[in-house]
Symmetry: D2
Subunit: 101 residues, 4 copies
């Protein structure tokens, strides 16, 4: 069942910039994801990515980090939560249903 | 500046239940938060809590875990990201502005 | 079974300092934990705390953040993983047994 | 500076197994890492991997998840913290120095 989607939540924290604001870097992450054609859902906590082929994950991280490094960030900490569900199709839509109150 | 708000992202993972579905537990977490009068924002990734007094965090975790334990969950792993910003008022509204595309 | 121990992994990331090095802040976190008499196990990834009373968690976070704020850190992101096991005594020693290769 | 090492902390949580014990899966993760020749440091909190080429990350996750799926795990949640430092060589050894008390 290699065709199953992975849901990957990410949060990127630049370390050693001289500003406490990170909104500029959040925008850059969104731009990288859009340029790569990755479906994603932004949230105050973490951004959820829907990934068909998990082997692409490292390339995504590399593109994000390279983009931030070009903007002068010298240390990038990325928090990630990967949800790999093999019994049932997983998707951002499904998760949005689950959290409906 | 003790009056500053903390933003706390949480994700609760029940371990050792015999089902891969966790939506039932997500609803229980929301109910605990509502009962405690905590402002929160649900997302596919993690739920963001806006907390005025961070010393209450442990009590919130205890209430969530006790509630899940009553439902038969024997091991609960909670992932958390705490954002404590001291230079500027932080809020769910502010973060929603930041992620606007 | 309120007497059960919680294992709490933490990692503290200072944001907006002008240095990429965080070792100085790691030492401060250890000092806070020692001063509070909390048993902990350092690791390259995250520090594991053994906590008898989870309601104390928020006070620990507050002490750590206040200490870093006094050193000039204006934004502190803390990553945490809480392991609450209710069927069996949990401890740092038990986890060290599990990871023995 | 593409030759810089990435430090990646991982923690794998099987969801929907009927046991609260995860030590068996921890051993499987170590076996996958050894078979792939990846340098790693186990800890009670998370396992730290030293990765030269971050583009390999997705392949590592796929191998771990496929291995657990073969053992019957139907949902696998992986928590990850990636440390990409571009100003200075990063390594498990360096981090072990930092945490020395």
């Amino acid at each position: 069942m290699n065709s199953m989607k992975y849901l990957v939540d990410i949060s990127v924290e630049p370390i050693g910039t001289d500003s406490t604001s990170i909104s500029r870097y959040v925008k850059l992450v969104y731009e990288v994801l859009k340029a790569k054609g990755i479906k994603f859902y932004p949230a105050p906590s973490m951004t959820t990515l829907e990934i068909d082929d998990i082997t692409q994950l490292g390339y995504i991280i590399k593109d994000i980090d390279d983009t931030l490094a070009k903007e002068g960030v010298k240390r990038i900490v990325t928090i990630m939560k990967i949800d790999d569900r093999r019994d049932k199709e997983n998707s951002i839509e499904h998760k949005l249903e689950v959290i409906k109150m």
